[in-house]
């Protein structure tokens, strides 16, 4: 009779230890010896695209995902190369990143901070993503940025406009290419003064969350510096759909300008309501009543339809720009998908290229090496002219576009016209500017 060497207890013990080992997050086991989280193997590298695939910003998320897929295609040598051909840095050669084929996983932020953190965590811990990028909201960006800092991966922010992302909530592992509320105010105020005069009384309706506050503060301080007076500023709930109660009293408030610090569905509905209540045709204080929408998005402008005509705002990028980088990107994206890219698509495409370029220049996927390569890096050819990734706060500084709803659009995409390309010097600020105070960048965390 043979005797087995395996005891029931022994098997259970071994199984438990093996199970615990497998259950450990990837960044705490195999690659720990590499000195940083999720060090890639020799053949492929995995990026994590965390975008809203469901929820109110799903269309924007879908456009971001298209741009990411295009960027991956270009990095791996497919397609026409897009902006790789116009990028001032020439280290990317279409062989992936440091010779590794670029693969990606996706997560759904649902435009909810907790869901976004959960999907980012899953991509880092289960899929081994070495970089997380994406998002269409500042709340999500701030939450995911903090998670990436803890996990020791780089976060390349998508569409996030609040000052706080690179202000009081900045992190050493986080980088933002998109512009911010301060830049909107600095670019927009002179155009408003030139078109509407300096003797104006503004009434603000502000979305009651982080982005709304920083945008109201930025627009108020910029316009008040030009001589405007703020007669009232009312917070509106993020869940509000009918703004008639807020808009009805505006015309009789002594104001002659309504500033809608709203984005997304809020912007579509508040602007539609304002136009319904006749604010575009009204006179106040002997002047035409005007409406301003500080942050425009083409996808949102489509929702507001003809109501955007003649209304000023700002945007990070627009497909009608005629620089070589923008033309190359529009050509690539338009040929692949049949319509021009949005500003969300542009910033996410650019962020992916910038990450790949930084890794290649650093010669390492180590987040601290990548961060060092991105800090104070100057580049051109990616659609916004000469751009600086400032080391002090990881914010990109570049020209800002002031746009206006087009009076006579020629097609469904032709909704905004560029009124002014505000030079970067006009929107640059000190890292210790009051609107960005509080919080500290801290030090880079490589994880592991």
């Amino acid at each position: 009779m043979s005797k087995s060497n395996f005891s029931r207890r022994g098997v259970l013990k071994t199984g438990a230890i093996a199970g615990a080992g497998l259950a450990l997050p990837t960044y705490l086991r195999a690659e720990a010896h590499a000195g940083f989280t999720n060090a890639p193997g020799d053949s492929e590298v995995i990026l994590g695209f965390n975008v809203p695939q469901t929820g109110p910003y799903a269309d924007e998320g879908a456009d971001e995902l298209r741009a990411y897929e295009l960027a991956v295609e270009h990095l791996n040598g497919g397609g026409d190369g897009g902006m790789l051909n116009t990028f001032s840095s020439k280290v990317l050669d279409g062989t992936g990143i440091l010779g590794r084929e670029v693969k990606y996983v996706t997560g759904d932020t649902q435009t909810k901070s907790d869901a976004a953190r959960a999907s980012a965590r899953s991509m880092i811990e289960k899929d081994g993503a070495i970089m997380i990028t994406g998002g269409s909201s500042s709340g999500v960006a701030v939450a995911v940025q903090a998670l990436c800092q803890e996990a020791g991966v780089i976060f390349m922010a998508g569409l996030t406009h609040s000052n706080d992302t690179t202000g009081k909530d900045k992190r050493a592992n986080g980088f933002r290419h998109f512009f911010n509320s301060y830049m909107t105010g600095a670019a927009l105020a002179p155009v408003l003064a030139a078109n509407y005069g300096t003797d104006r009384k503004a009434y603000h309706l502000t979305a009651d969350y982080n982005w709304g506050y920083t945008t109201e503060e930025a627009i108020r301080s910029s316009t008040e510096a030009m001589g405007w007076e703020t007669v009232n500023a009312v917070k509106t709930p993020l869940t509000q759909t009918d703004f008639s109660s807020y808009i009805a009293p505006v015309l009789n408030s002594g104001a002659d300008v309504l500033v809608l610090n709203h984005y997304g569905g809020n912007m579509v509905n508040s602007l539609t309501n304002a136009v319904q209540f006749g604010l575009r045709e009204a006179m106040a204080n002997g002047q035409n009543f005007e409406i301003v929408v500080p942050l425009y998005s083409r996808l949102m402008a489509r929702g507001a339809g003809a109501n955007v005509k003649g209304i000023f705002g700002s945007t990070n990028w627009h497909w009608s720009l005629q620089d070589e980088g923008s033309k190359a990107f529009v050509q690539s994206f338009g040929t692949k998908y049949g319509f021009p890219p949005s500003q969300a698509a542009h910033t996410t495409y650019v962020q992916t290229l910038l990450y790949a370029d930084a890794v290649t220049r650093a010669g390492s996927f180590n987040p601290c090496a990548v961060a060092e390569a991105l800090e104070d890096y100057e580049f051109d050819g990616l659609g916004n002219g000469k751009t600086l990734y400032r080391g002090d706060d990881h914010q990109c500084f570049k020209d800002v576009l002031v746009v206006k709803g087009k009076e006579n659009p020629e097609n469904e995409f032709d909704l905004l016209e560029i009124v002014e390309v505000t030079p970067v010097d006009q929107v640059t600020y000190d890292p210790n500017h009051p609107q960005f105070q509080g919080g500290a960048l801290g030090t880079c965390n490589p994880g592991a």
Binding site: T241, S244, P249
Partner: protein
């Protein structure tokens, strides 16, 4: 005083939507005893009937315009609506302009059919189940409907404007002796208010003055006895479900020029409409309508900057606050039958 009148007017159009949705909810609860959490989705489906008609009327074929280029520099392909070919540009544009009112003709049969399918296909299996089961299944159904709409129409709002004759606003204040700009009110919101009055009036007249309505009212009061008289009350209640769906759908159709519709709009109204039903009195049709307008006006007052600055957050809680007070002091609601919700 002018602000007072202005907020009453604002409350009326919001109240119109609440009243129409709550009316449908009450019809379903009163007849079938079902708590229908998919009713907001029916409102949203009505709105998308208008979007669909608008898209159908603007169905186009491409004509290449060599004088212009598209965003890629290729010759521009211009969309020419088939209606232009069939009726000429002037008549074609007029039909497209009137897409929302025309949608009513499309929405009524479509919504009645959807109501029938919902009731026969799913909800009838839950008549004898607890209200919690009904809420779960209808809420699930609402989410499925939402996702289907999002799949086909996208997540962003779709602008569907009112006919140009009703665009813009008028100075109501001047008409009643106030200063210029004191009370500005959009034409379409006035249309919406009167439209809701007509629909509410039609439903009441149908129930009050037709034999069918009489049987339904009798069934609502005592279903068993009506059944014993040999009347197929279930069939009539199924028809009432279809009518309730059509009422919610019509509320949605006419609402699209006020706010561009998206797949989520039903949920925004659903919970508030339930509160309206509870405040009005479960099963009471006049109560649902009265509470709809009342809470719409209250919400409007609570959203003024004066109210919000003195009582922060009051605009978010006012309706629920009223509901709590009503439920504590008069559990049957404003016009509810004695005994309902009081056991």
């Amino acid at each position: 005083m002018d602000q007072f009148i202005l907020q009453i007017l604002n409350g009326l159009d919001k109240g119109s939507a609440y009243a129409l949705i709550a009316l449908g909810l009450t019809l379903i609860f009163g007849t079938l005893g079902v708590v229908n959490f998919a009713h907001g989705a029916l409102f949203m489906l009505g709105a998308f009937c208008a979007v669909t008609v608008s898209k159908l009327l603007t169905l186009s074929h491409k004509v290449v315009d060599d004088t212009r280029t598209d965003f890629l520099g290729n010759p521009m392909q211009v969309d020419v609506p088939y209606l232009h070919d069939w009726f000429g540009p002037a008549m074609g544009d007029k039909l497209i302009d009137w897409a929302v009112p025309l949608s009513i003709l499309f929405a009524i049969p479509v919504m009645i059919c959807i109501g029938f399918i919902m009731e026969r296909g799913l909800i009838k299996h839950f008549y004898k189940r607890p209200h919690a089961d009904q809420i779960l299944v209808t809420f699930g159904l609402a989410i499925v409907i939402q996702e289907v709409i999002k799949y086909y129409y996208g997540a962003n709002p779709i602008p569907t404007p009112a006919p140009s004759a009703f665009k813009g606003s008028f100075d109501f204040g001047v008409l009643i002796g106030f200063d210029v700009n004191a009370i500005i009110y959009p034409y379409w919101r006035l249309v919406y208010f009167f439209f809701s009055l007509v629909v509410i009036g039609a439903v009441f007249a149908f129930l009050q003055f037709t034999t069918f309505g009489m049987v339904v009212r009798a069934g609502m009061a005592d279903r068993e006895t009506v059944g014993l008289l040999g009347i197929d009350i279930d069939k009539r209640f199924t028809i009432m479900f279809g009518i309730a769906a059509a009422v919610a759908g019509l509320a949605g159709v006419m609402y699209v020029p006020i706010n561009p519709p998206n797949y989520h709009m039903g949920m925004d109204f659903l919970v508030l409409s339930f509160v309206v039903v509870v405040v009005g009195g479960m099963g009471s049709l006049p109560g649902a309508v009265a509470a709809g307008f009342l809470l719409g006006i209250l919400e409007s007052f609570a959203s003024t900057s004066w109210a919000v600055s003195n009582l922060p957050g009051i605009n978010q809680v006012i309706i629920y606050l009223v509901a709590i007070i009503i439920l504590l002091t008069r559990p049957r609601g404003l016009m509810g039958r004695k005994g309902v919700m009081e056991e």
